[in-house]
Amino acid sequence: MNKFKSFIKRLIGKFKEKKYNSTDKIDITNKRFRWSDFIAEKIIKSVAFFSITIIVLIFIFVFRESFPIFNFGAKEKPKTEQTSDSQEQYGVPAAEPAQQEQYGVETTEPAKQEQYGVETSEPAQQEQYGVQTTDDTTMVENITPVEETASGSTHDDNKQAVKTLITKEWQPVSDRPRYGLIPLLIGTLKITIISLLFAAPLAIFAALYTAVFASKRMKELIKPTIEMLAGFPSVVIGFFALMVMASFLQNIFGYDVRLNSFVGGIAMGLAAIPIIFTITEDALTSVPKTYYEASLALGATKWQTAFSVMLPAATPGIFAAILLGIGRVFGETMIALMATGNAAMMGINPFESVRTLAATIGAEMAEVVFGDTHYNVLFLIGSMLFIFTFAINAIAEFWVKGKLMKKIQGK
């Protein structure tokens, strides 16, 4: 027993770092392995990699789901769900494996696929390409044609869908589904511009006031209050916009459509203000105090100092703030769903209803057929949101760092 105890003691001693007394001589030749440091480092590293991996995986998933519509002809891979969907049969005889081979369709598990009857492509179906988008239509349509039909996406579905992607109509559920993304894109841009025109000046001026002019007590009051608003659930803002703001603004401006991009833009601006405010305020506060003093010592007023010295010096931070604001508005779903009217219209009139990319996903994803063209297009929209956000960030980064800063700060 004693032996065991001393063994444990020695083991612990090995892992425990030796504590030095102040009188001890420090021995630098005895290189020790520091367990706690090592483990902490590894844990932090793995957590960091884990989170990065998750983001990348989401990214890959979204892209993969949107991929099939561009892939007509070569490979067809509808999503297969193992559990509930597999029982669903629409009473349609599945295509024979032999037939599938004919069209060069690669199938991994022919036996299983037959069950859904989803993934076949028939020349005979070409005329009916758009019919099978929803469960109901498929059922109905499947009765009339003599031969096999499919309820999922087919080459021709996809081919047709891709053709309609750059048209002006978003009619995913109809006899001839049209997946025109342009109105959605315009709607999103319209909303983004309106909300930024509303939010950015307000937030930046509020930040300027808080950072430069407000007394210390005022600052302690304003900053936490606005920051708290950043955590405000967007559904509440959307509800407020839907019930209160929409009527109020309609009374003021007297436009016809009650829910439109103007109302939605302002509501989203409310959501973006706290973000822009917080980061701008931080950027302004971190401008060296010596700039402020130097400017005042030259006989500048507070306003001149704030505008000509503080704002230019904080430009990178302010741009980061606006970018995050754009990101927020771009991806905002709930407010868009509730306050914009959700009609995919093209015009540039701000008082028309619009449908945004994010709201489209939010509204339609729950009702779409799994693996259907419509489903793929929704994922395509998802990847577009991703790509646009990246692009905006990249362009802004390049532009701010490269051109604008040189103009403001000299080469």
Binding site: A294, I408, G410
Partner: protein
Amino acid sequence: MKNIKIHTENMYLYYGSKMALNNISIDIPENKVTALIGPSGCGKSTFLRSLNRMNDLIDSVKIEGNILLDGINIYDKNIDVVSLRKKVGMVFQKSNPFAKSIYENIAYGPRINGINNKSELNDIVEKSLRNAAIWDEAKDRLHDSALGLSGGQQQRLCIARTLAVNPEIILMDEPASALDPISTSKIEELIVQLKENYTIVIVTHNMQQAARISDNTAFFYLGELIEYNKTKKIYTNPDKKQTEDYISGRFG
């Protein structure tokens, strides 16, 4: 002493309830260099900053007594602080050019005073840079970032920036404390040149520097003005024992 530019009378300054300056009475003559020396925390920078009311930026500061600039009390409630600071320029301890180009740094002061004429601005920029002895180094890179200059150049740029608004008095808060000897000597030469046209008040920790460039020297200790006299007199034959100890390095 004739042509007194700044005259303070029984001036007290408090940070909250703590007294930082105790009964300062001093006459600063026109077109001379006046050096303020003393150990850290003795109130010389505070005194300097109260001459153009930079202490207003600190909420807790309270000032009693009179500071007269050309016979006008600058703490009178009718005083326009912005104009006062145009008249009394300041160069800080740490060089603090704005993150703009060299040209924009100099042009900033005239611009906020309403000068927008391009050729006039060019003239002012060139003149200020020449007066601050940095024209030769900067003329080819006027539109480069001021932050790319060396520490000594930046400090001279800050002096040029102050000169551009054409002040009457220039306050300098240890302008050469962070610079190498060569840059320091350049700035010292500059100060001696500038006193022809400007009244200069300089705070310094470098006793030799004060001896080299100043006409009058004031010795501060613990918020009090111990001794104020011609620099020559202070350095050769000070009246007070404390001054002698400090100058000879036998202090504390």
